[in-house]
Homo-oligomer: 246 residues x 2
DNA sequence: TTGCTCCTCACGTCACGTGAGGTGGC
DNA sequence: TTGCTCCTCACGTCACGTGAGGTGGC
């Protein structure tokens, strides 16, 4: 006969774990010797290994208790289910491993793939880091607030980047960040932006359908504090708001 | 800006989890709106995804807190360590999956490989299920009480099965289970067992070295209750104890 | 005699879950 | 107005870990 320490060491659990399984009714209390010590037999070892194996697979102790008294047919069905759960856990861990690596590698982990692709495209066009990061933060907010819609919107905006005129304007807007508010190019740029916004295919962008308006959504979410804009961009905004009816 | 519910849904955690990370100091408390609601920005979402990814890998929250303020070099080293831990977990789950399957398949899970091989050999020799199960239980106790020694002992006993005379005697002993106590064959068997026990190569079995005596160990552990023996085996034991000096 | 194992409470831990009771937003 | 979200306590849960204080075995 075995002491609780021998049993625990043989099976590979702690003494406290064996006592816990007694408390939870998973392992029957064995007979005691003259000193009040528990004395275990081979069948206790077998039962404990059963419990340990199931518990190691993440099966809750309450479920294990059920399974220990289940008939072979029920048990077999439960085993299939448990194996599926283990497989799912392994897949989850593999995914997590990749994500941990991405934690170091870049930013793709933090946003939908479409947004990450879009940001890569912006960088390819030559936009400044600051502007790309602003877009990244904006899109994270949009993706979080409008799940399901963000993907469509960003795909739409990606397509717009195929237009050389749009790219030229976006680059100019980016460069205007650094311009002096008195720079004459700001006036030209404001005019060009207004002209572009008047084009037929562009107005569709934010009036597509009542439920799918991107711009109001984004503005409500982001609510950029005007004071955070660069002097050049503050002037540009002023120019864009001038003569809006015209 | 996002509410706590939008943030949680985007990242894939519960609202309670976000609050818990605030409590534990992992995620900074954001500013509140007029109603006292927390309002989150893109950087909070990024930080929360970081935390979730690490927590999903099983990294304790206290460790995550350290890592969030670690420099890139420390972080990179920690990531390698975490990846190793994930790999170990995956291996553990794979092992556990196999063991769960064995839970159904047989008994190998409950004992060292050598013991299982030995029991298979006993069955091959044609011993009864009852005798094999008794040996199994005895060996589980021996393996538990004398870790490291059981393997050697069982290997030694396995080798003994190569002796045709030993096999014949063991089979006879097994059959004697069912014999009537008055059966004359018991007397013959007792004599044959005594003769075998007198052989030079057999006495070495339990006197090999002071520290490695198998029989006393096994008897002390198993302490078979004589009343649990079959009538035939009880008589056999009586016969073996007669004339012990002779 | 000393150290190790065993015994029974019983509180602690980890990462949240789950009401309890109340207020704000659409 | 109704239902949903948000707020702050604060106790509950799961599977044990960890002393606290005491006794038994070699």
């Amino acid at each position: 006969m075995l002491t609780i320490g021998q049993l625990a060491a043989f099976v590979g659990v702690t003494v406290r774990t064996v006592r816990h399984y007694h408390d939870r009714g998973l392992l029957a209390e064995p007979a005691r010797d003259a000193s009040g010590y528990r004395r275990y037999g081979a069948s206790d070892a077998i039962q404990l290994i059963r419990i340990k194996t199931l518990a190691g697979a993440g099966v809750p102790l309450s479920r294990i208790k059920e399974l220990l008294t289940a008939d072979p047919d029920q048990f077999a069905r439960a085993v299939v289910e448990i194996e599926r759960a283990i497989d799912a856990k392994i897949r989850q861990l593999r995914l997590n491993r990749r994500q941990i690596a991405e934690l170091m590698a870049g930013e793709r982990l933090y946003m939908p793939t479409e947004v990450a692709d879009y940001l890569d495209r912006l960088r390819g066009i030559g936009l400044s880091r600051r502007t790309v990061e602003e877009e990244r933060d904006d899109w994270i907010l949009v993706a979080a607030a409008a799940p399901g819609k963000a993907r469509g919107w960003v795909t739409e905006k990606m397509a717009r980047l195929d237009d050389p005129e749009f790219r030229r304007l976006y680059r100019a807007y980016d460069e205007a960040l650094e311009w002096d508010p008195a720079d004459e190019r700001l006036v030209e740029l404001a005019a060009a932006l207004k002209a572009y916004a008047g084009r037929e295919d562009v107005t569709s962008w934010d009036t597509q359908s009542a439920d799918e308006k991107f711009l109001p959504y984004a503005l409500a979410l982001i609510a950029p504090d005007r004071s955070e804009l660069s002097p050049g961009h503050q002037r540009l905004m002023d120019l864009l708001e001038e003569n809006v009816p015209g």
